[in-house]
Structures are given as structure tokens and as C-alpha cells.
């Protein structure tokens, strides 16, 4: 499918995402102007403040955006019982974007005013202007071009950074980019990147035009000053309202997911099961990057999502690896209840662990069932592993030791390339994900972990206890999902989305119908 075809088929979604993106950029740049310009003016009046303030703004620019999101989500700052900072969604994204946009605006306001010719300032003072009159009638009009240049830089930064906001469910064109990265789909990546680049270029050109023409416009006269003030007040009101509505819609059940296909499908399954069984309104807050889903759950921004027992044990509780599935589940269940007031419900039935894979023909030829079987015949073999597997605690070194592997060659490559390499006989054994749709598609065989080296990664919905108490019917709805998915079924669902490019919503609905849960 070409990019143009994609756009014509998804015109409405593209429009929505573009508006979301523009919304994020306009609101955050607007707030950054309202904070940055007065702050820049203040610095020209109190130059001793300029070092610490500009230093802080400088540091904010160097913080990676995902790290900044991770820092903002657990915050809970209230003003008049309204949460103003913290959680997931557009509001947190706006706070982060404002922090990024501040530096160029403060710096340019400060520089613009400081670089007004001292003779002109003297002329104004000598003519009997008060400090305020000098500021509004001379310094600000003369610095306006430089200030607008700062706004221009800030806007372009915001357009770029707003794509990352999709990682915390703030919407925008980043959704296409993240979806594309996940599915290894260049058309999708471009579908997000090209409009974002166009917005950036358009904003740059438009503000560049304003910057050039402003130098020829005449003074801020009494009338236009009144206009300026009323537009500032209007903008302020708009931003306040916009910021308020950018928050979570209260009173609905929020289902979250991490940012890969399987998680989005599982999120849909949870959402549709709850909708169908309880009739409660459900919002979907999918595609949360890194460990943000967990943090959003703890912060109460979402009510449930599907977590894997091994991930909870190693990445969140930071415990040493355990391998007995029931024991791991017991452990995470009690720790989560004690530490986070979160409830693990019924496991969905499949284990998304590392899958040690060989070609079907080799499995037949050597009669391979378990990893131990393979270890015996693997002296001449080459292996291909993702970077993640090579480095993690439950990864390659322990694996090779446990089973006594001595490969002729071990190649480190991107996970998405390992399957292809195996099929093309460039390697003979790879470690993939057990639920990957490509496994059945390529006729690969997963070898049994007979020495129980890998921790279990059983998929289980995790729910906030307060949500279950308020809506016990959600517990009932989740109970019927217990054991509903085998590894093989999960692979097929993943393939339907990744391989056949179907919508997760439709795939989930079809599956629930098949299982008699949805009509």
C-alpha cells in the first residue's frame, strides 16, 4: 500500500490525529508564551535571576522526553480539587511540551529586550517614560521580532516532541509513528512523520512571515494595545478550558495497554468484554510506552491492563528470576496487593516467554522436542538473538550455561530480523517471542524449555482494587476470560493484525464471538 492510498483510505483518522497534534502544539506553545515572555521580561529587570532561570530551562531541554513523561506521571498536583499535573494523557504531554518550549521563548525575550540600543532606551527615559511605558511602547515592540523568532523555534520543537506524546496516550500523529515502528511498517511511520514534518514546516514559514512583517508594522497604539490585552485574556481563558478538558474523562472505566500489537488486542478484548458484560462506559488508553502502563495504573489514570507475570517480577518488583509459574503468580499477586493495592485476576491462559525456535524441517530431521534435544546436535549451528536477549538477566549467558550450548557462531541482530534469518538458513536457532504471529506463518517449531530456565510470562489482567470494589461486575467479566487464550490462538490474533493488517478492534470482537462471550 502506498502512502497516498493509506491517506485516502484513512482520511478521517488522519484528520483527527492531525487536529490532536495541532491541539497539543497550540495549547503548549500558548502556555509557554504566557509563562516565558513575562519571565524573560522579569530577567531583564532582575539580571541576577537570569543565570538560574536560563540554566533550569536549558536543563529541561536536555531531559529525554520519555524520561520526562515518566517523571510527570506519578505526580499528583491539585489546584482547587482539579488535578493539574500528573497522570497520562494530553495534560501531562502539554506540561512536558511547555517545559521544552520555554527555553527559546525566555531566552529570546531576554535577548531581544537586552539588545535594544541603549541610546534609544535613554531617549525614552529622557523623554519622561516610566519603566512600564518604556517596556510596552519601546522595548517590547522593538524586541518583538526576536521574541517571535523564539516562538517559532518553540513551535517547531513542540511539533516534533508531540509525536512522542502518543506514548502516554495523548494522541497526535505519533500514534501512526509508534504503530508503524511496532509493526515494522514504513508506510505507517511515514503516515505520521510526513504530516508532522509538514506542520512543522508550515508553522515555521508562517511565523517566519510574521517575524519579517512585524518590523514594518507601526506602534502598539492605545487601541491595538487594548486588542492585545483582550486577546491575551481570551487566549488565557481558551488555554485554561482546553487544558481542563485535556484531562481524563471521569466516571468511565479506563482500559490501558502497552505499546505493542498483542497488548492492543488484549486491551480490546478486556474493553469489549467489560462493555458487553457490564454495560459500563469504557475508554481505551492504549499504546503506553515502557513501564508507563504500570505507572498509570498505580496513579489511577487507568483501571486495568494486561501484565505478564515475569515482567512484573523482574522489571517492576525487581526480584531475582523464579521459574515455577504458580509460584511466580502467587508472588506477584501478594506483592502487588501489599504494595500497590492492585489485584491480579485470572490468567488468560498463554505464556508470552522467549521462544527458542528452529525450522520445522530440522525439528523433523533431528526429532527435536525440547531445548535439551537441540543442545545435543547444535555443535555446528549458528544462533541469532535480539539485543534484548543478549543483555538481560534471564537472557543468553544463563541460557547457554543451563543447556550447555556451544554455537559455532552467535549473531546479534534486531529481533524482527531473526525470523527471516532463520527461514533463510543464515542461522539455525533463534530466540523469538512465543506469541509472535510469524512463528506459525513460517512453520517454525518452538522447543520446550525442559529445564525451566525462562521465567513464565503468563498474561494476566491487573486491576485496581478500588475499581473492583466499586464495580464488582468487572471482576465477573474478567473471570470469564480466564484460560481463554492458548499460545497458538494468540499467535493467530497477532498475525491477523501484523500480517493481515486488520484492525485490533475487529480481531478482538471476532475472537470474543467465537468464544461465545460477545454476540
Amino acid at each position: 500500500m502506498t502512502l497516498f492510498e493509506f491517506f485516502s483510505r484513512n482520511a478521517r483518522e488522519l484528520l483527527t490525529l492531525t487536529f490532536e497534534h495541532l491541539f497539543l502544539v497550540v495549547v503548549s506553545t500558548g502556555i509557554a508564551i504566557l509563562i516565558g515572555v513575562p519571565l524573560g521580561i522579569l530577567l531583564t529587570r532582575k539580571p541576577s535571576l537570569s543565570k538560574p532561570v536560563l540554566g533550569f530551562a536549558n536543563i529541561m531541554q536536555t531531559v529525554p522526553s520519555l524520561a520526562l513523561f515518566g517523571f510527570l506521571i506519578p505526580l499528583n498536583i491539585y489546584l482547587f480539587h482539579v488535578k493539574i499535573v500528573g497522570g497520562i494523557g494530553a495534560r501531562t504531554a502539554i506540561v512536558a511540551l511547555v517545559l521544552y518550549a520555554l527555553l527559546p521563548i525566555i531566552r529570546n525575550t531576554f535577548t531581544g529586550i537586552s539588545s535594544v540600543d541603549p541610546a534609544i532606551r535613554d531617549a525614552g527615559r529622557g523623554m519622561g517614560m516610566t519603566d512600564r511605558q518604556l517596556l510596552f511602547q519601546v522595548e517590547l515592540p522593538l524586541a518583538l521580532g526576536v521574541i517571535i523568532a523564539g516562538v517559532r523555534v518553540a513551535t517547531v520543537i513542540c511539533v516534533g516532541t508531540a509525536t512522542i506524546a502518543a506514548a502516554i496516550d495523548a494522541g497526535g500523529l505519533g500514534r501512526y509513528i509508534f504503530r508503524g515502528l511496532r509493526a515494522n511498517d514504513n508506510v505507517l511511520i511515514l503516515a505520521g512523520a510526513v504530516p508532522a514534518a509538514l506542520i512543522a514546516m508550515g508553522a515555521d514559514l508562517a511565523l517566519g512571515y510574521v517575524e519579517r512583517t512585524i518590523q514594518f508594522s507601526s506602534a502598539v497604539k492605545a487601541k491595538s494595545r487594548r486588542l492585545l490585552w483582550s486577546s491575551v485574556v481570551g487566549l488565557l481563558a481558551f488555554l485554561g478550558v482546553a487544558y481542563f478538558f485535556a484531562g481524563k474523562s471521569a466516571g468511565r472505566i479506563a482500559v490501558g495497554s502497552k505499546d505493542f500489537t498483542e497488548q492492543v488486542i488484549l486491551g480490546e478484548i478486556l474493553a469489549q468484554a467489560i462493555e458487553g458484560k457490564t454495560g459500563l462506559p469504557v475508554v481505551r488508553r492504549f499504546d503506553l510506552g515502557g513501564n508507563l502502563a504500570h505507572e498509570a495504573l498505580v496513579a489511577g489514570e487507568i483501571d486495568l491492563y494486561v501484565e505478564y507475570t515475569g515482567t512484573a517480577l523482574l522489571a517492576i518488583l525487581k526480584s531475582p528470576p523464579l521459574t515455577d509459574p504458580p509460584e511466580v503468580l502467587r508472588r506477584v499477586k501478594s506483592e502487588y496487593a501489599r504494595r500497590f493495592n492492585l489485584e491480579w485476576t485470572e490468567p488468560l491462559g498463554f505464556n508470552n516467554t522467549f521462544a527458542i525456535l528452529v525450522r520445522g524441517e530440522d525439528a523433523k530431521k533431528f526429532n527435536l522436542k525440547t531445548i535439551s534435544d537441540a543442545a545435543k546436535v547444535s555443535a555446528q549451528w549458528r544462533a541469532g538473538f535480539g539485543q534484548d536477549f543478549m543483555s538481560r538477566a534471564d537472557g543468553y549467558p544463563g541460557f547457554a550455561r543451563t543447556y550447555g550450548f556451544h554455537f559455532e557462531e552467535t549473531r546479534e541482530m534486531d529481533l524482527s530480523l531473526t525470523y527471516r534469518a532463520l527461514v533463510d538458513k543464515q542461522v539455525d536457532l533463534v530466540a523469538g517471542n512465543s506469541t509472535d504471529g510469524l512463528i506459525s506463518r513460517y512453520g517454525l517449531v518452538q522447543l520446550e524449555d525442559d529445564r525451566h530456565y525462562f521465567p513464565p510470562y503468563d498474561a494476566v489482567p491487573v486491576v485496581r482494587q478500588v475499581t473492583l470494589e466499586a464495580h464488582p461486575e468487572i471482576g465477573t467479566a474478567l473471570k470469564q476470560l480466564g484460560g481463554i487464550l492458548t499460545v497458538d490462538e494468540m499467535r493467530k490474533l497477532n498475525y491477523a493484525v501484523d500480517g493481515e493488517k486488520r484492525q485490533p478492534r475487529d480481531v478482538a470482537q471476532e475472537f470474543l464471538r467465537l468464544k461465545g462471550i460477545a454476540r
Binding site: 541610546a119 531617549a123 519601546v138 507601526s218 506602534a219
Partner: protein, 255 residues
């Protein structure tokens, strides 16, 4: 001369920077109402410092400056400055304002009606020899140096202040324009009869425009007298300027 003819008076005035450098020491000086006093001296002699003490852009570190018999430190600086027209080198025009708006700055600060400001701007433009219809809506960068300087003078006169300070107003002009504008200014001066303090380092200009000349060197007053007296003084600084004046005369006559 009686005391109520004194418009500006310096009494033992010194000005020292925080780092201890003295820019002006022990200055005693009276400017009579209606006269033009030229402050003459080289760069760094304290001319501009003297001028900024009058409209309180700076305050004396010792002694006192009196304007209309009241010490400047007792004046509200804003009120004081609006009673004193101020002309500095051509950069003093606001580049973002039109000619008319530049001239109208002080009247606008004083809250005049827009109609009255426009009318006043037309009168002043005519007074400095510029056609209001052609120039009122232009921006400073669209004017020649001489035109800009005329606007600067018009702006200082806008609210009809009794005192006008001019800090090397014609310094950046070419010699011919300069001569022209000096002549015009002289006529204007005789018409208006304002108290003026005029800073320059050009002795010829001082001769043309000054009723009296105050010669400054390194922050000290060396001589205060009518122009002719400067040519007869034995003081080396006065003689240096006098020689300069004779050179200019002889080369000027050969042109």
C-alpha cells in the same frame, strides 16, 4: 543678572562611578533662562554626564543640581523629564514609530487628544522645514540623516518644554547638511527663545549656536564665557580648540 533668571544651576556638583572613577568634579554653573549654553570638550570630558544630571538620568554623588530653583532630587523624575526636551544623536528616534508618532511621544504620554497631537506634529514639521503630507507617515529609516535630525528637534519641542537638552545632535551629519541645519536651528532658536544646553565637540558649531560656552576637560570646568573670550584664553585646552577653529576657518574659506 538676578536669581529668577537662572533656569538651571550646578552647585559644587561631582559625579563618581561606583568603581571610583570621577567623571565630573566640583562643577559650578548657571544657565540663564532663554540662553543657549554650549558644553564644549573632547570625548570623555564630562559633557554628556553634565547633561544627564539635568534631566536626572543620573543623580549627583555630591552637590546639587537645581532646575527652576528646585533641586533635581526633589523633582519627580518623570515630571522633570517631561518639562525638558531631549535630543540625542540620530539613533534617538524610535525606529518602530512613524515620524508623526515619534513627534507625538511626549504629548501622548501627557494624555493629549489624538487630534491635538496630529495638529501639533504638523505645526512642528513645518517649523523644522519638512512637508507634513510627505513625511508624517514615514518611518525613521526612510529619512535622510538631516531629516531625521530635524524630526529629533521637532520631537523635543513637541510639548513646548521650557528647557531643551541637545547631546551632539548634528554629530553624525555630513558637513554640508550640518551647516544647513545649524543655520535653520539658529533661526528656530531666535524665534523660540528656549533655554538650551547644547553638547558638542565642534568648536565651529559652538561659535554659531552658543550664547556662552562652557569648556570642560577631564570632568572640570575650565572656562565659562562668551565665544570670543575662548579665543583669547591662555589655557592650553582653550588654545587647542581655538587652533582648531582657525584651521576650520581657513580651510572652510578655500572651499
Amino acid at each position: 543678572m538676578t536669581d529668577d533668571q537662572t533656569a538651571i544651576e550646578f552647585r559644587d556638583v561631582s559625579f563618581t562611578l561606583p568603581d571610583g572613577k570621577t567623571l565630573l568634579s566640583n562643577l559650578n554653573l548657571r544657565v540663564q533662562a532663554g540662553e543657549t549654553l554650549v558644553l564644549l570638550g573632547r570625548s570623555g570630558s564630562g559633557k554628556t554626564t553634565t547633561m544627564k544630571l539635568i534631566n536626572r538620568l543620573i543623580d549627583p554623588t555630591a552637590g546639587e543640581v537645581r532646575v527652576e530653583r528646585k533641586p533635581t532630587v526633589e523633582w519627580d523624575p518623570i515630571r522633570l523629564r517631561r518639562r525638558i526636551g531631549y535630543v540625542i544623536q540620530e539613533v534617538g528616534l524610535f525606529p518602530h514609530l512613524t515620524v508623526e508618532e515619534n513627534i507625538g511621544v511626549v504629548p501622548r504620554l501627557e494624555g493629549w487628544e489624538p487630534e491635538r497631537i496630529r495638529e501639533r506634529a504638523r505645526v512642528l514639521l513645518a517649523m523644522v522645514g519638512l512637508d507634513a503630507d510627505r513625511f508624517a507617515a514615514r518611518f525613521p529609516r526612510e529619512l535622510s540623516g538631516g531629516q531625521r535630525q530635524r524630526i529629533g528637534v521637532a520631537r523635543a519641542l513637541a510639548a513646548d518644554p521650557p528647557v531643551i537638552l541637545l547631546d551632539e545632535p548634528f554629530g553624525a551629519l555630513d558637513p554640508i547638511t550640518r551647516r544647513e541645519i545649524q543655520r535653520e536651528f539658529k533661526t528656530l532658536q531666535q524665534e523660540l527663545k528656549k533655554t538650551m544646553v547644547f553638547v558638542t565637540h565642534d568648536i565651529a558649531e559652538a561659535f554659531v549656536l552658543g550664547n556662552r560656552i562652557a569648556l570642560l576637560k577631564d570632568g572640570e570646568l575650565i572656562l565659562l564665557d562668551v565665544p570670543r573670550a575662548l579665543l583669547q584664553s591662555e589655557h592650553p585646552e582653550a588654545r587647542a580648540f581655538a587652533e582648531c577653529f582657525y584651521d576650520a576657518q581657513s580651510s572652510g574659506s578655500s572651499v
